[in-house]
Symmetry: C2
Subunit: 193 residues, 2 copies
DNA sequence: GACCAATGCCAACACTCGTTGGCAAACGCT
DNA sequence: AGCGTTTGCCAACGAGTGTTGGCATTGGTC
């Protein structure tokens, strides 16, 4: 095996690829997996639908590329233990408002098995790994991560997907003050109650 | 206007209608709104797709009929104030496990505007009405109901839709012990924190 | 300037979808 | 028994889908 550079050289079509990806994220976030058509995405990106196929292989391939996502969880072990809940909800709120990829993934996860699988990966692996660094009883780590995910995803679902009026109108700072204690208890509270 | 009986007399096709509705709920719950095809629903009910149209008018009409749902919230004002969170989560868990209508509604709400609207109605109206009977500051009622909805729907989303392993495996009783305090605080906790 | 790969568009295929209209059989009523 | 209504199925339409192959054009390389 020869030594070869892993960084692919820039292609002339990179701008097109990026435009497709941007349009795809928008459409998937707004309409979900099945209602977001390749034709509509291509129209948004001002190119031909066949280009999407050439560059991403299939609709599933396009979604896989568009739903690439990293939670970028901060190193919570470095945060004072009693402030970890607040740090978590703050991080998620900013992450969510600034990147529609998560909304796309969340919408699609309801109906698309691949999207659900990816969602499981993100929230089980990344979140569990973080919780595991806290030194609580290892047998409860997965459960704690799951509970945190349930509140985080429930917040996102009601605020960005279903758009429940009280959850849409409430100020982020007030959300933090309500939800931080919940996450804090899920992270560090006693297991039996 | 003559006096007429409002109770429609039983029709010969009632069995067929019920079979369609049952199959529809199953399909909508398993596949979501757009992947659940009328043809598949009709096949499950062992009738012709055109019958679905005759009895329910359209796919949207069928979904509206299949997603008819009442939370049947108990009279929480009669429950001791400190046990209302536990009573709530218990009620929702049993309601959810026993009726796939809610799962159908939840799945469809991600991509279908009508389903989202109905979800808003159910969780805003019914839940808010219940919270309003508790005598807390009326200006916080909607927010409290929204927060409760966020945790309840987050639980359902992770357990029944995305199927996060830790949330699927955990025993209902342990879910109650973890989530009851959360709902309790959302219902009766101080507003500013 | 000649070659060749990369980029883009057009037209079409094969399929599935919701939906419709017509026709046959079964039923209920007098 | 005879009639009208109800129930059910069949065949088809029109629209929209993901996907494919071919062809013109552009760009870089020797």
């Amino acid at each position: 095996m020869t030594a070869h550079a892993h960084q692919t050289q820039p292609r002339r079509s990179d701008a097109t690829r990026a435009a497709i990806l941007r349009a795809a994220r928008e459409r998937f976030a707004a309409d979900g997996y099945e209602r977001a058509t390749i034709r509509a995405i291509a129209a948004d990106a001002r190119i031909d639908p066949s280009m999407v196929m050439r560059y991403y292989g299939s609709k599933e391939g396009l979604f896989a590329a568009a739903a690439e996502f990293d939670l970028r969880l901060p190193d919570l072990a470095a945060v004072p233990p009693r402030q970890r809940g607040e740090a978590l909800i703050r991080h998620f709120l900013t992450r969510w408002e600034g990147d529609e990829t998560l909304v796309a993934l969340l919408r699609a996860a309801s109906t698309n098995p691949g999207a659900a699988e990816r969602m499981r990966g993100i929230f089980a692996d990344q979140l569990t790994a973080t919780v595991a660094t806290f030194g609580t009883d290892p047998t409860t780590t997965a459960r704690r991560a799951g509970l945190v995910a349930s509140q985080i995803l429930g917040l996102a679902f009601t605020r960005y997907i279903v758009r429940l009026p009280p959850m849409v109108d409430v100020e982020p700072e007030e959300l933090v003050s309500w939800i931080a204690p919940t996450l804090q208890r899920y992270l560090t509270g006693l297991a039996e109650n």
